[in-house]
């Protein structure tokens, strides 16, 4: 059967959860395709359509091992994401994809994995985290270092609480709050504080550009090699298939050749992200 790459499949929103309220609101959506669907890999993205408003590339935060829905956690940012935030259970949206490369988690078997995320940056790595948790026996120690600006800005609050019984979780917020018992400071500072061992470990870092930069610096400082560090990059996208020409970093189209890069690869590319 011929497939038209630009024609989205229709999907229904089956749950909406507000993770963070306020101006920089974040919501998590679960969707089910009306007809057919696709399977994705950890780290891949999908193009969500709100008809009449346009499309937006969003990373899939659910694990490929979960078959009955796709999950997206979305920060309200512009025209399309605002429209997505207006969705309710039962709303119909368009989805096409999956797009981009994936985290090479098969090749990480037997290794420890360190997840370092900030803000909405937990979404792209959530899929890896969930998958590795489901196949815990294939991997070594799993550690999450996650931070947000303030405690209300933390995403997946319930899941994180639950996670603490399954893996090491280190949380942080940027500025001290009275009730806060954990680390105060940026994620990178938390990394330096906790000093996870680079031994047989892969680090995945994801978050705002400045956070990624400082985290990579911190990780390098504590001994992680460039090829042990993975991150994801986002650029403005339209087609999702490397044709429309806007998301490139050098010869790479982030939508097709990215969004997952090891720091060893990424540092070779021009600074255009």
């Amino acid at each position: 059967m011929r497939t038209n790459v630009y024609l989205p499949k229709l999907a229904k929103v089956i749950s909406v959860k507000e993770e963070v309220g306020g101006v920089r609101s974040i919501k998590t959506f679960r969707t089910q395709f009306l007809d057919g669907g696709f399977t994705h890999k950890c780290g891949q993205c999908a193009m969500l359509s709100i008809f009449g408003k346009g499309e937006s590339m969003i990373s899939i935060s659910s694990s490929p091992l979960v078959k009955d829905y796709l999950q997206f956690s979305i920060l309200k940012m512009g025209r399309v994401t605002s429209a997505i935030h207006d969705l309710e259970v039962g709303s119909i949206i368009g989805i096409r994809g999956p797009y981009g490369n994936a985290f090479p988690i098969e090749s990480w078997k037997g290794k420890n994995i360190l997840f370092a995320g900030g803000g909405i940056g937990l979404a792209p790595i959530w899929s890896v985290l969930q998958t590795t948790l489901l196949r815990k026996k294939d991997y070594g120690d799993l550690t999450l270092i996650y931070g947000a600006r303030t405690s209300p800005d933390i995403v997946f609050k319930e899941e994180l609480a639950d996670l603490k019984s399954k893996m090491k979780v280190h949380l942080s917020i940027d500025v001290a709050e009275p009730e806060w018992k954990e680390f105060v400071g940026f994620v990178a500072q938390n990394i330096l504080d906790k000093k996870p061992s680079p031994e047989n470990t892969i680090a995945i870092t994801c978050g705002p550009p400045i956070m990624i930069k400082t985290c990579i610096k911190a990780l390098s400082e504590i001994g992680f090699k460039d090829d042990q560090i993975y991150t994801t990059v986002e650029n403005k996208m339209k087609c999702g298939i490397g044709k429309c020409g806007r998301c490139n970093i050098g010869r790479h189209y982030v939508c097709k050749d990215g969004p997952v890069y090891s720091w060893a690869e990424l540092r070779q590319l021009p600074q255009e992200y």
């Binding site: 630009y6 009449g52 044709k243 010869r251």
Partner: protein, 346 residues
């Protein structure tokens, strides 16, 4: 086998192509462009360079992807709007534009092929016209692996021999097109071939501009990413889209929803040309822009054509038509820029 077509018979050939949409260069308000030939008798191939290249026929500036319509509350009907792919013939395609189409083919092909493009592309027959003399003062095709009589991308190549055309059939599509003309085509004889070859050879000497020794340019560009060179070079850029919109190889596009009715919601998803020269091209909705200024955007244009494309497809994404030089309102000259890159001390 190559053919000969008398110029007086050329209109008859066009008449015979009733099943095709025929595009040919036409002069409107002092500007040449490929336009649908409504009066086929009036088509003449005596023209210089068009303002907009032939890419607009296989990759129109605006095309519809699909139509969406709210069926019931929160349900949608999507109707795919693929082009019908009506047989189309473009006359007078210059060698550089034929070659450009092959480059665009690379982009829109591959694993994930672009149906919309291919529907039109497959239906299009490109009839080239070898340049006896450069159609623009800024032609430099020879410098970028092209030639004024390149056959790349073309289905038929015609060469003007005075009162007749020397017609080379290059593909099956071309063969079919010529066969529509039937008896008006005659077998070419060796002197005809010689004459055509002479014109071809002469034309190569007539090119006004050249861009020499650029094989190191891709590597050079790599090292110049952070150079202030780009600031200086882009000073006079006014950030319009002429250089890219009118480039036969540029293919960047935008996708937008155009709403026709709010209730029930109905509209179309539309693809339009876009260009890396517009500031909003890469701007994130957060306001962050990886290419924040015109220096970064000029760098992108040159890098894409002379580095990135070369790395991926082993070819320059420039066919030397010179349109971007001729029509730039402030005289930014890609030849000069690339020469400066070439001569830049790293």
């Amino acid at each position: 086998m190559d053919k000969i077509l008398a110029k007086k018979d050329f209109p008859r050939w066009l008449e015979a192509l009733g099943a095709y949409d025929v595009y040919a260069p036409q002069l409107i308000d002092d500007v040449w462009n490929y336009e649908l030939a409504t009066d086929r008798k009036a088509v003449s191939l005596d023209y210089p360079q068009t303002a907009i290249p032939a890419k607009k026929i296989v990759f129109p500036q605006r095309e519809f992807f699909f139509e969406f319509r709210e069926a019931d509350t929160d349900d949608y009907k999507l109707k795919e709007l693929l082009p019908e792919g009506k047989p189309t013939v473009i006359f007078g395609v210059r060698a550089c534009e034929g070659k450009a189409v092959t480059l665009t083919d690379l982009v829109f092909g591959g694993e994930i092929a672009d149906d919309y493009y291919w529907k039109r592309r497959n239906a299009a027959v490109l009839v080239g016209l070898a340049c006896a003399s450069p159609p623009s003062t800024n032609c430099f095709c020879l410098s970028v692996n092209g030639s004024p009589h390149s056959k790349e991308g073309l289905d038929v190549l015609m060469t003007d021999l005075g009162d007749q055309y020397y017609v080379e059939i290059l593909t099956d599509k071309g063969k079919k097109l010529v066969s529509e003309g039937g008896a008006i085509f005659h077998e070419a004889k060796p002197p005809d071939k010689k004459a055509a070859e002479k014109i071809h050879a002469d034309s190569e000497k007539k090119l006004a501009r050249e861009l020499k020794n650029i094989k190191d340019v891709p590597a050079k560009l790599k090292g110049m990413f952070a150079s202030p060179f780009w600031d200086d070079e882009s000073m006079s850029c006014i950030r319009c889209g002429i250089c890219t919109y009118l480039c036969p190889t540029c293919h960047c596009f935008d996708i937008n929803d155009e709403v026709e009715s709010q209730t029930p919601l109905a509209g179309r998803r539309v693809r339009t040309w876009d260009t890396c020269q517009f500031p909003d091209f890469t701007m994130h909705s957060s306001g962050h822009n990886p290419r924040p200024d015109k220096a970064a955007r000029l760098r992108q244009r040159i890098n894409h054509k002379f580095q990135y494309f070369v790395e991926v497809w082993q070819n320059y994404q420039c066919t030397g038509c010179g349109r971007c030089i001729t029509l730039c309102p402030v005289g930014i000259d890609i030849i000069k820029v690339v020469e400066k890159v070439r001569d830049h001390a790293n």
